[in-house]
Symmetry: C2
Subunit: 311 residues, 2 copies
Amino acid sequence: MQNTNEAMRNKTQYFLGIDGGGTKCKAIIVSQDKQVLGTGIAGPANPLHGFEQATASIVKSAHSALNDAGLSDQLSLNDLVAGVGLAGVSLPTLFEQMNHWQHPFKQMFLATDLFIACLGAHQGEDGAVIITGTGSCGYSYVNQQSHSIGGHGFSYGDIGSGAWLGLEACKNVLLSLDGIIDKSALTPLLLRHLNIETASEMVEVIAHKPATFFAQMAWCVFRAVEQNDPLAISILTQGADYISNVARQLWKTNPPSISLIGGLSDLIKPWLADDIQPLLTEPKASPECGAIVFAQQQWMHINTEFYERSL
Amino acid sequence: MQNTNEAMRNKTQYFLGIDGGGTKCKAIIVSQDKQVLGTGIAGPANPLHGFEQATASIVKSAHSALNDAGLSDQLSLNDLVAGVGLAGVSLPTLFEQMNHWQHPFKQMFLATDLFIACLGAHQGEDGAVIITGTGSCGYSYVNQQSHSIGGHGFSYGDIGSGAWLGLEACKNVLLSLDGIIDKSALTPLLLRHLNIETASEMVEVIAHKPATFFAQMAWCVFRAVEQNDPLAISILTQGADYISNVARQLWKTNPPSISLIGGLSDLIKPWLADDIQPLLTEPKASPECGAIVFAQQQWMHINTEFYERSL
């Protein structure tokens, strides 16, 4: 109880926010009075693609943020209250596994990457987000109820994402190399990107590659769209129509607004349906800031409970 | 030279035909006078999914065929002239690797699974084949020129195949579970097949699964088609239209006819376009019999060359 009261009085508690995805892991350190002290970055942290790699990336990004804050000499990870938002942990088994991790922090609060992204975008208030980056997903958090749409993963979900655009480009270029459809502006763009000439070379290059590899081809679709290529326009329209549908589903949960986030959001936004455009607002803060909001809410909650019980 | 002349005179040369694919490896042993003596079967033999596994399956199926022929006591693999047709070896690097295998046979002639399938279907004559099983591919062999269409692999090619049908079913059922499209007869069929109820359970079950896993879901599409499900009919029509297009491309190479082979051929055939139906003929023999034709042609060719040089 003494420790808890101490914690309650302790105005210098530091918080760590983690946003871990399939490509990279971002960390931010914030003081109790919400000053950003440092940030860090590390490699992939989606436990679906490896528990060891995910936990290593989280620890590495946290150390990097401590260094950036100039706090490495004074603080260890064990002093930090961490809010950790991760891709992949919407799968119950992965959530369990990550939650049983013998983490190095003072306390760890685990959530999905979507939840912290939504908290960040709406600064802890109710709202919805649609993420379009390597993957795609919709998520709303309204009246303490969460609801997610899509985001089921490459190659059967994540329509409209970078990986999906890259995969559709590959499929269609293979069809064009086989003479099944006409070649279009997309064909030379993709062949040049992959530094190949034939269908069989293409298969050798793309076989067994992860979503991130396909996402790196998404720019070919946008470039071909700039050149008014009908095939690329049809692919992008199909992806954007799906995102518009995701927005319509989210809107049924009554969020005050929807924010588009992720690396492709600015490129996709103009292609969304007319009825969707007025529902969109700019995100207020990043997902890792949302992880801080989450950590502070949970930490406050725990300490209030302890405090009340100790009275 | 003496050995070669002996071989030429030797009427008891035995031939081994191998048809190795992603799911299984079939072997057949045939005498010089074309009598089938025994057959064998073993596991996957596509070197794209593992060189060690492929070579082990080839050897195992060959031993199994020797046993079946009752020849295990009299012959070793070293007495057999093998025609080996394998999936995957259309990739030059895999062809090289397999061709450098320290194989246990008297002689090994390596070709693609498509080539031996085509030789089998048309008994060594010119012709074309379209394979629809776990994967899909078109291939023609006319005037000693081979031409292949599609077959680029799961999940960016192989349209109209079992794996493709299963993947499209999964994609659409996920959309229906998210409320993006209406549920159809396909939804309960697939959920029951996978023994699951929700989208997140589905993702846990299908993530990182190979083409063979998705091919096992193809029956759900055909069952839903029987129930006049518009979604399933649209998926099957899209797959069949692609196969019709493959047939049209193959026809440009002037094959006398096209044979449909593979596990789905009977189910897909009625859905092919009206202009394609008259071009189709039943395959005359199996791919492993085509491997025998190939081995005998090559063996004859080598021995004739040696014989002519020795004159």
